[in-house]
Symmetry: C2
Subunit: 359 residues, 2 copies
């Protein structure tokens, strides 16, 4: 099985990531990072993270680069990328959060992103959300306005990837997607150029499905005519979709709570969310629910900062002491409280976001 | 036989360009352009030049884009590209002369251009020569400093070339060369974007060996989400090398007079140049020389502005009334007179050239 970073498949089996792909398991006792995403084992693997962790421990410079393709509206699945970025920033990382508008246009079919302008419209919204999350304008860039040095680097990278290498990793040589990969590689590595932060260990948080990018990035890093550290990666689980067996995806709005969703829409979606509840209230009170498969519980697991809340909820659910209706009520209350504050900041951030995207 | 724009072969057979590749013969009576390069039939073919000529005749806007890869020092073979640009400029064309540093780095092997810095060092020299030829700084750009809109366009183009299309035209999918092609396509077409000169017929002068670029450019122009004119091309003959059967090439210094060559070097090279002379002086006086194969005569044909001079020389040579020694003497005198003025302007232009390349 190959990971397809552009596919819509949900990866349900993680074990092969360690056996087949040579990722290392992320060991919280070896790399203790005080954030619920780490404590809750949502970070499952890494490549070469030890050298980044050394910098964290010794409070020396390290870098990070994270990106999202501006191919749709942001939802809570993306919030995890944002939370990781903020976590590493809190630990001292310098770097950027990239809103990938060129990548979004070149790698997505025309029926989804027909022109670069469409990718830029999404980019404005994405950037405004990032600012609402507390990002400074200096921390964010869009690919289409990054500046000459970055683009030159994209082309320098192209010389170091053979088409055989590309095809071996991705199984095709679609030139739009080749461009997207070149841009992503430049995103991840340009932070180490002398014109940016210089040579330093760097970390990028990605999903397992993005591992092909990580592998090719690390290969190319060794071939460039620049002295840079081979970039490190941590792999986190993605929050799954609200429907049973789904991936949270902007292409299927019913699977996701969007950061721009109105309270009523949130309520409606959460009420329809797949849970670990039983056939009847009686049965659930007697046998308890199953938080392990419950998408409402998963929502709390990815976003509720209080570990104790989560533990209590799990216990109460399994004991049949909280039913799905009450739990869903808590969930959309939790979401809407967050969104009401966030969406106000989002509105205020739109002019700054437009400036970042259009200049 | 396929044209290979990166190969070193000399194209000796032009007829297949019309039969196999579908180029149109350039007819001087249909498109009378008053410049010796046209009058001497050094322009042999075109694609879609009529719409450009209509603009010339009606004195309406038309565009041009020409480029050279900064992969070596400029020689008199390059001067032809420069003379064409100046000719179309004189006829009213707006546009740019591009010094292709990114292209030079990505498409040439590391043993020739090991880093982008090397391509940029050549770019400084190339730009200084262009300024010495009378180009304004606004007419020149280097790819590595062209600005965001241009790069975004490169990536937009990548979405419209399939790898099959690329392989059909070039016979390979080397990603560095893919980059070079994407850049060249962006060079040729970006002039028609609203941010530059807008939609207008455009012309690019190239050698026959560059036709694959022309074909793919014209294909892609029709697929882009922008309303632009399909670019037109004129095809000119390249001046051949000074040695018998050679191409004038910076990789083989003995084949070329460089724009930076000192008078002694020019004299030495011209003295060694292959001519249409006979075995002995006596035989030549009796039977005459053969300007058709003579590289000294070819030099005058590509660079001496006076048609009458050329006609007289041809007549005198065939009649045995001028021998190779005298003719070579006239040739290096002609070259050195030009170069002494040019090289002074070149030196003065270096600071401006550095600014264009490094900012």
């Amino acid at each position: 099985m190959a990971f397809d970073p552009w596919g819509a498949n949900k990866i349900t089996d993680y074990e092969h990531a360690f056996t087949e792909f040579g990722l290392s398991k992320f060991d919280n006792s070896k790399f203790p990072i005080d954030h619920y995403l780490f404590r809750r084992n949502l970070v499952i693997a890494h490549r070469d993270f030890a050298k980044v962790y050394d910098r964290i421990k010794s409070k020396k410079t390290f870098l990070q680069l994270t990106g999202i393709a501006s191919s749709g509206d942001l939802h809570f699945g993306h919030k995890v990328d944002i939370d990781f970025f903020k976590t590493f920033k809190g630990l001292g990382a310098k770097g950027y959060f990239c809103v990938c508008d060129l990548d979004a246009y070149t790698s997505r079919p025309d029926k989804k992103i027909p022109t670069l302008s469409v990718a830029k419209e999404y980019a404005v919204k994405n950037v405004a959300h990032l600012i609402a999350f507390g990002f400074t304008e200096k921390e964010i860039y869009v690919q289409s306005r990054k500046g000459n040095r970055y683009y030159a680097f994209v082309f320098e990278i192209s010389k170091k990837i053979t088409s055989n290498m590309f095809e071996a990793v991705y199984g095709h040589k679609d030139l739009g997607k080749v461009s997207a990969v070149l841009l992503q590689l430049a995103d991840i590595m340009h932070v180490q150029l002398p014109e940016y932060f210089g040579k330093n260990p760097s970390v990028t948080g990605i999903g397992l499905d993005q591992d092909p990018h990580a592998k090719i990035t690390r290969d190319v890093a060794k071939k460039l005519p620049y002295d840079i550290e081979t970039p490190s990666f941590v792999y986190f689980l993605h929050q799954s979709g609200l429907k049973e067996g789904s991936k949270m995806s902007s292409s299927e709005p019913a699977t996701a709570i969007f950061l721009g969703d109105a309270p009523d829409a949130v309520k409606k979606k959460i009420n329809r969310t797949f849970t670990g509840g039983r056939e009847s209230l009686e049965e659930q009170k007697e046998k308890g629910g199953n938080p392990d498969v419950c998408k409402v519980y998963e929502f709390f697991k990815f976003h509720h900062p209080d570990d104790q809340y989560l533990l209590n909820l799990s216990k109460k659910c399994r004991a049949g002491k909280i039913l799905c209706g009450e739990c869903k009520g808590n969930c959309f209350k939790f979401i809407n409280e967050f969104l009401s504050g966030h969406q106000k900041k989002y509105k205020d951030a739109l002019p700054a976001a437009k400036k970042i995207v259009y200049g």
